[in-house]
């Protein structure tokens, strides 16, 4: 027993030394960054973003952690490199001037390499050592190893590579070495991964004509790490890895409520409305008023001085503003006052990850209390279902950790209207599910609304007819006939009858 306790405390005290990359998401899945003072192999085909990721590691090191860096380029010339990363907003010139980074292009001209007898790569080591000393570097990148492999003897390289890694360790630098992946081996020569302490692969896959970049940690000696493939994007602000954030469940739950903006709907939801920070799904067929319901919600949120982000994937913001004016919601005023922000993007423009990242970025900027996605189903056409589900889960988790209330609308096709709309499994991850339907009764279409589920509150089980008028959305009083829903005319008659009988 004592032994057990001893072991446990030992494990808890140990902390593997790591170097933060400063790359969003990557530090999460590596639980704190790359192994400190060791080398990480970054593998991937051409165009995967190896150079950019490596460069971002260095720049973040300089800017955030004040660790000078050395970049050894075997492929690109230094001035080309400076130019190339400028488009990512990295100003290498300034760091070069401040002696914070040292770039060196090592050119290997195969014509010049004529071998006669044994040799080693000591020249490279000397140059690397000089470069490290020049800026007192803590971070080093070698990009990419393949040039060496093309030109030198394989056996020699094998031992030299091992020597390089232990040499870098001695120099107390955290290094990234990039290389391309071969088909047969993890790396072209099938050797490097045995000696490296951490191996990360990058991948650029195309499914349904939309490309997705993914990152996976293949091995990480001495540390736990996320095992999955994580999507990442490269945009003008650099690299962004999108991990599943698993903290959501550990966060304390909120008991405060937020009104739905429709008085009668609040009544149905335990008389108080939604929970703050919960997720709400509005599903229904075309023309049932999903956008109107979400716009009403947005309106009421903004009216109470909170901030709302409306992500439109179907209609352009102007169109939504115009349309909502017809039901008495002046969204324009809210946009101008800054309490309502629109994000508009065509779903086919980019993949799901990019959409979510774009939204995430806006969230980080404007810090809204409520996010509305209208409709989520449009996004779902882009990519296989599994991807979408996991992506949505991640997104909802992310919003939960930020205590943001999220409302999705989902358009369902008429065929699948029966209580169990496909919804790609999103119904299980939402807290409140409201279904709107078009019911045809006596040659009259009637809009109806019901709360299918709402976690943690008593909610009405009634199917309520609702009206969309220039005064907004109102729910009709409950009138039950013998045969379920009534058409408008019949309802009026019934109302009359009820009145006369009482």
């Amino acid at each position: 027993m004592k032994q057990l306790e001893f072991n446990k405390s030992k494990v808890n005290n140990f902390k593997f030394p790591k170097t933060l990359t400063g790359i969003q998401g990557l530090d999460d899945i590596t639980f704190g960054g790359l192994p400190k003072n060791r080398s990480t192999l970054l593998l991937g085909n051409t165009g995967c973003g190896k150079t950019i990721m490596a460069m971002e590691f260095l720049i973040n090191g300089i800017v955030i952690y004040d660790e000078p860096a050395v970049f050894i380029a075997f492929e690109e010339k230094t001035d080309e490199l400076v130019q190339n990363v400028k488009s990512l907003d990295y100003d290498l010139d300034a760091h070069l001037a401040n002696n914070k980074i040292y770039l060196e292009h090592i050119q290997i001209n195969p014509d010049e390499i004529k071998e006669s007898g044994k040799y080693d790569l000591e020249g490279l080591f000397i140059r690397l050592g000089q470069a490290i000393n020049k800026v007192n570097a803590k971070r080093v990148v070698l990009d990419s190893l393949d040039t060496l492999f093309y030109n030198f003897d394989y056996k020699m390289l094998r031992s030299e590579f091992k020597r390089l890694l232990s040499w870098l360790k001695e120099k107390q630098v955290t290094a990234i070495i990039t290389s391309e992946i071969g088909d047969a081996f993890l790396t072209r020569e099938g050797i490097e991964e045995y000696v490296a302490d951490c191996v990360i692969t990058l991948d650029n896959r195309i499914t349904n004509q939309i490309s997705t970049r993914r990152l996976r940690i293949i091995k990480y000696r001495g540390s736990f790490h996320g095992n999955n493939e994580y999507p990442f994007v490269i945009d003008e602000k650099g690299i962004n890895v999108f991990p599943i954030i698993s903290e959501a469940s550990q966060k304390e739950s909120i008991t405060t409520r937020i009104t739905s903006g429709i008085k009668d709907l609040d009544e149905m939801l335990g008389k108080k409305g939604f929970y703050d920070g919960s997720s709400i799904l509005i599903s229904g067929t075309a023309g049932t008023g999903k956008t109107s319901i979400s716009a009403s919600f947005a309106y009421s949120v903004c009216e109470t001085g909170k901030h709302c982000l409306f992500c439109a994937f179907e209609e352009a913001p102007n169109q939504i503003i115009r349309n909502m004016r017809s039901i008495g919601l002046n969204l324009d005023k809210l946009v101008k006052s800054g309490s309502l922000t629109f994000y508009y993007s065509r779903p086919t423009l980019q993949n799901l990850e990019l959409h979510f990242l774009a939204i995430k970025k806006i969230i980080d900027e404007v810090k809204p209390n409520v996010v509305i996605l209208d409709p989520i189903t449009n996004l779902m056409t882009e990519g296989p279902n599994n991807d979408i589900r996991s992506m949505l889960t991640r997104f909802v988790d992310y919003l939960k950790t930020q205590h943001i209330t999220v409302m999705f609308t989902a358009a369902i096709t008429v065929g699948s209207i029966e209580r169990n709309p496909s919804d790609e499994g999103i119904s299980s991850m939402v807290d409140t599910w409201i279904m709107v339907q078009d019911i045809e009764v006596d040659n009259e279409r009637t809009r109806s609304l019901c709360v299918i589920k709402s976690r943690g509150m008593f909610h009405s089980n009634d199917v309520r007819k609702f009206n969309i008028s220039d005064k907004g959305i109102t729910l009709m009083p409950i009138i039950t006939g013998n045969k379920g829903s009534l058409s408008d005319t019949k309802r009026k008659a019934k109302e009359h009858q009820n009145l006369s009988t009482t």
């Binding site: 290997i108 004529k114 007898g117 044994k118 040799y119 080693d120 020249g123 490279l124």
Partner: protein, 108 residues
């Protein structure tokens, strides 16, 4: 080793020597690592045997003068650079394959 050298001399064409051009050679080494020591020994032998009196050999230890590794763009060591006669040529290794070295130096 000795045998090999003898064979090499057979191939040696006298007319090449008639050029009487002066060779400028630079050998870059790293201290007393085995490859470097061998390279020094080999190049000295070759020079004495084939370029007697018309060569300028400079042996540079890049441990002592690391900046030269940059200016001469050196990665693999030992490396022999023939500065003259033009064109400039490079050869990496301990120069144990004398036949190759001679061919590279245009002495065959």
């Amino acid at each position: 080793m000795l045998n090999k050298k003898k064979i090499d001399t057979k191939f040696n064409v006298e007319s090449n020597l008639a050029g009487k051009e002066k060779y400028i050679l630079r050998l870059f080494i790293t201290g007393i690592l085995p490859n470097s020591v061998r390279a020094v020994k080999n190049i000295k032998t070759i020079c004495e045997q084939y370029l007697k009196g018309r060569y300028d050999l400079e042996i540079i230890d890049i441990y002592q003068q690391p900046s030269l590794a940059f200016t001469e763009d050196i990665i693999a060591v030992p490396v022999l650079i023939k500065k003259f006669p033009l064109p400039e040529e490079r050869m990496i290794g301990d120069l144990s394959n004398i036949k190759n070295v001679l061919k590279e130096l245009d002495l065959v």
